[in-house]
């Protein structure tokens, strides 16, 4: 499709559903997803003159939306401070999971065996629980987790996007996963 055949007013009907589902799968909030899709359309309209049709119009809109989603995560993450003290203040820390004097798992937090883990992926319930657990993460941890494991940005890209040091980045990833694991287990994962 060439720029001359692009009809922006048709974008919502033509691509709106797909873009909205994509946004909703990332932000889990229907109002925010809607807003991101609208922002993507308006940015595309502004940049229509630069659209060279090297990619399809659909692909181009997805690229713009993905950028909007990354910007959204960045705003979320930057709404909280990023120093180590602030990271500690944001939810549980290693001290909640490990015995400080020897670094071993505490008996309450030691990972249980996830006996039904292989079958769990097929269950809608797992996806619902995982999304709920992700929403409960502190903003910065949620943003880092989503950028790394859903958007699949590299550690370097995430540090750049969120203004994090490498050391803080690894702490945040580690804590996000510790919390997600605990949340999944609280909701029954690993129990027969």
């Amino acid at each position: 499709m060439t720029p001359s055949t692009s009809v922006p007013a048709q974008w919502p009907d033509r691509y709106g559903d797909e873009l909205y589902r994509f946004a909703l799968s990332r932000v889990s909030d229907s109002d925010v997803a809607e807003e991101l899709v609208q922002e993507a359309f308006l940015s595309a309209l502004d940049g229509l003159a630069t659209f060279r049709a090297e990619a399809s119009e659909r692909t181009w809109l997805f690229v713009i939306l993905r950028r909007k989603i990354i910007d959204y995560y960045r705003r979320q993450a930057r709404a909280t401070h990023v120093g180590l003290d602030e990271i500690s203040a944001e939810g549980p820390t290693e001290a909640d999971f490990f015995v400080p004097k020897n670094g071993h798992w505490t008996s309450q937090q030691a990972p249980t065996s996830w006996l039904n883990a292989d079958a769990a992926l097929e269950q809608q319930e797992l996806h619902d629980i995982l999304q709920r657990c992700q929403k409960r993460l502190p903003a910065q941890q949620g943003a880092v987790f989503a950028l790394r494991f859903i958007e699949e940005l590299s550690a370097e890209e995430i540090c750049q996007e969120l203004g994090l040091s490498s050391a803080n980045y690894w702490i945040i990833v580690h804590r996000a996963k510790l919390q997600l694991r605990r949340c999944l287990e609280k909701h029954g994962l690993g129990k027969d």
Binding site: P8, A9, W11, P12, D13, G16, D17, E18, L19, Y20, R21, F22, L24, S25, R26, S30, E34, V37, Q38, F41, L42, L45, H104, W105, A110, P111, T112, S113, W114, A117, A120, L121, L126, H127, L130, Q131, Q134, F145, A146, R148, F149, I150, E152, A155, W170, I171, V173, H174, K177, L180, R181, L184
Partner: protein, 72 residues
């Protein structure tokens, strides 16, 4: 944290001996290593699933967006 860093390395890069040894003698850590990989895999699968089966954009939202786009 070493586990997270290891998971981020290319598969071709071997695990540091110290980490390998630690996992061998720490069953909880070994279990956690598998679980941390599963969580990442599930998060990707969950987002992909919602992308293909999630709800559609409402007609009202589409109408609002059409208006904004038409207004330029």
């Amino acid at each position: 944290m070493l586990l997270e860093q290891q998971a981020d390395r290319p598969a071709s890069e071997s695990m540091p001996a110290s980490l390998w040894l630690h996992l061998r003698y720490c069953p909880y850590c070994s279990r956690y290593a598998k679980q941390t990989m599963l969580i990442a895999e599930w998060a990707r699968a969950s987002a992909a699933r919602q992308t293909s089966t999630g709800p559609a954009l409402s007609d009202a939202a589409k109408a609002r967006m059409r208006e904004r786009l038409a207004a330029g």
